[in-house]
């Protein structure tokens, strides 16, 4: 779960990391208590906000309303901000980069620093952290040296605070880019990127990721779903979404997911695909799928191709056949005798020739 900048900065403050003076702006707000010039920053989760016009410098207070109205309608990475952050302008000597995240090379947390942060970041130096011992002083000293700044400033305490935050809040990533560094050794976090481990918080709802195409995909299996989307695209198919249901989902879960995926406009086909399941009850999942179909309006008339195998498959297919007849769905079913990639070709052929 990724936090918005303003949420991340609130956490920073709790852990003793200085942030610029700021104010959160909701739509319709007419004035700001900050003195101009200040920055207005779009609160979206996507990176590269600056490049996409999500960060604006407001020179006179009178420009605020126009600037904020523009930012609120500017979607970045498909996302429109619900809030802006007005933030005092920081004039500084240098912009550094500091983060803590996980590295699959060392299979441990790592502290990463670069002596030039911002959008044109210089190559970083990586320091592994043993989570049993936490962030040791010698590593902090080495990281400060790598930043080419004098020891004794606030940077080392920022690193310690960042580790506290990372370990206690179960973060996957905490990143300060840029970290404003003043000649007197003080530091202020210019941005905050915080991603919390979803395994730690409440489980997230099954997400549907839009891909812009016209074939609805309901895939099962964490790995198989990725392979299947790749294959679909290789066959010339344009997936509308990525959605995945794994494990042994109840019929209700599949029903809701089906309804959400099929409610998208402009669909030309639907592909239900999964490998040969070990334990997933295929009958249950297909019952959920049909329930989802029935609750989708208008009634799906585009071709539906199902490739699924596993426990209770024959029952499931008999049920699907009778449902197709009863409600008039254009449905084709395949078991594991038909390779998954073959069924990709079938859905592409059917979806795009009708």
């Amino acid at each position: 779960m990724k936090l918005y900048e303003y949420q991340g900065k609130k956490l920073f403050k709790t852990y003793g990391i200085a942030v610029p003076k700021s104010e959160r702006i909701s739509p319709g707000k007419k004035r700001v208590s900050l003195r101009a010039p200040f920055f207005l920053k779009s609160q979206v989760l996507s990176g590269a906000r600056k490049k996409h016009g999500g960060i604006v410098r407001v020179v006179r207070a009178s420009e605020f309303r126009k600037a904020s109205a523009r930012l609120f309608v500017n979607a970045i990475g498909g996302e429109r901000p619900r809030h802006l952050l007005a933030e005092e302008e920081v004039r500084c000597a240098r912009e550094l980069y500091i983060s803590i995240s996980y590295d699959t090379r060392t299979r441990s947390p790592v502290l990463v620093v670069s002596r030039r942060g911002g959008s044109r970041i210089l190559p970083a130096v990586v320091f592994p952290i043993d989570p049993l011992f936490g962030l040791p002083d010698f590593t902090v000293r080495a990281a400060v040296a790598a930043l080419e700044i004098p020891s004794g400033g606030h940077v080392s305490s920022v690193m310690h605070s960042l580790w506290e935050l990372f370990s206690r809040e179960h973060a996957l990533v905490v990143e300060i880019n840029p970290l404003f560094y003043f000649p007197d050794g003080r530091c202020v976090a210019g941005d905050a990127k915080v991603i919390i481990d979803p395994a730690h918080g409440a489980p997230e709802a099954r997400r549907i990721l839009p891909l812009g195409g016209d074939i609805a995909v309901l895939a099962s299996g964490g790995g198989a779903s990725l392979v299947n989307l790749d294959v679909l695209m290789k066959c010339g198919g344009r997936p509308a979404v990525y959605s995945e249901y794994s494990g042994n989902p109840s019929a209700d879960v599949v029903r809701d997911l089906t309804k959400r995926v099929l409610s998208r406009p402009g669909l030309k086909g639907c592909w239900v695909v999964g490998g040969r399941a070990n334990f997933t009850d295929i009958f249950e999942t297909m019952r959920g799928f049909v329930e989802g179909l029935r609750r989708t309006s208008p009634r799906p008339t585009y071709p539906i191709v199902i490739r699924r195998d596993g426990p209770r498959q024959e029952e499931a297919f008999a049920f699907l056949r009778s449902a197709a007849k009863k409600y008039g769905y254009d449905l084709a079913m395949f078991g594991s005798e038909t390779p998954m990639s073959e069924s990709a070709k079938i859905i592409v052929a059917r979806a795009y020739t009708q």
């Binding site: 996980y102 179960h170 730690h200 695209m233 990525y242 334990f279």
Partner: protein, 304 residues
């Protein structure tokens, strides 16, 4: 010969009274892998329906059954760290973690202890390990479909995905290529044994003549395998299928099917991984079915 499993494999299941644990027990016994004991705190003294004794502590189970050399962990995610620590402290050298959704910080601490103590961890989120016809640890290959899916032979399979481990094995079996062992390493961000670790084990296994690897977008485990190949540590042929090319269209940091399948840039993309492996001499499969075609060619060539 095989890797990780042999005739001496004796298992304790931590969390044996839960749904996953009970199923794994049943499945493993049916496959001929002895489960000597189970552990569920507070349920010591009980017996499972197949007659396996349940203990409160791993140390107690090991004391009563000194032949135990493997632990299968099926406890709920928040208790995995403690359970694995208990197994390490009881000197169990191989720990397979089936549980999904383990916090990454817990895994990181666990891996650090395991390194210090010399224990091998497979997982978290591992579907298990099977050596066809010899034995299995975990829930891989249900008894109904297992016989059709797996067969004994020369391919060592390493997969981040449990489903793809079965799918690939099934495809190989249909093509007449059996497996020396199939290992689900789990799709988490941090895992106890990565592709390179297992490839090194397969490299030393005389029964294994080629490696089949399923990787995906996120992390650098595939790149580390490529490095090991380039450095000459892996000399057996490698066939790899990488999933998630399409993810290039998605915003960074999006998490796909598995917890470690995080969309990013550079070395963590499917494209880069496939490229690195190819450069290192691996054969890249475009579809799952491709794997069997390539494997056939490799094995045919080698026989001559």
């Amino acid at each position: 010969m095989s890797i990780l499993i042999d005739k001496k494999t004796r298992v304790v299941i931590q969390g044996i009274t839960g749904k996953e644990g009970a199923r794994a027990e049943r499945e493993m016994m049916r496959y001929g892998t002895p489960v000597l004991a189970g552990v569920t705190p507070g349920k010591g003294g009980m017996k499972t329906s197949s007659g396996t004794r349940v203990y409160d502590f791993v140390a107690e189970a090991v004391r009563r059954h000194p032949a135990i050399n493997t632990s299968l962990i099926t406890v709920p995610a928040p208790f995995v760290c403690d359970a694995a620590l208990e197994a390490i402290c009881a000197d169990i050298p191989l720990i397979v973690i089936l549980s999904e959704g383990v916090p990454v910080f817990d895994t990181a601490r666990l891996l650090s202890v395991a390194r210090l103590c010399g224990a091998r961890i497979i997982g978290p989120s591992s579907v298990g390990i099977i050596s066809p016809g010899r034995g299995k640890i975990g829930s891989i290959g249900s008894s109904e479909s297992g016989a059709k899916t797996f067969s004994r032979g020369p391919a060592g399979v390493i997969s981040k995905s449990g489903g793809m481990a079965s799918e690939i094995s099934h495809i190989l079996t249909k093509a007449g290529i059996g497996q020396s062992a199939v290992v689900g390493i789990g799709g988490d961000l941090l895992i106890g044994s990565d592709m390179r670790d297992l490839a090194l084990l397969f490299e030393r296994d005389p029964d294994t003549r080629l490696l089949v690897v399923f990787g995906e977008v996120g992390g650098e485990y595939e790149v580390l395998l490529a490095d090991a190949m380039r450095q000459g540590f892996i000399t057996k042929p490698v066939v790899a299928l990488i999933g998630g090319y399409f993810a290039e269209k998605l915003p960074h940091e999006t998490m796909l099917g598995h917890a470690g399948a995080i969309v990013g840039k550079g070395r963590t993309t499917a494209r880069y991984k496939a490229h690195a492996l190819k450069q290192a001499g691996a054969h890249i499969a475009e579809t799952p079915e491709d794997i069997a075609v390539i494997a056939r060619k490799i094995l045919g060539r080698r026989k001559k």
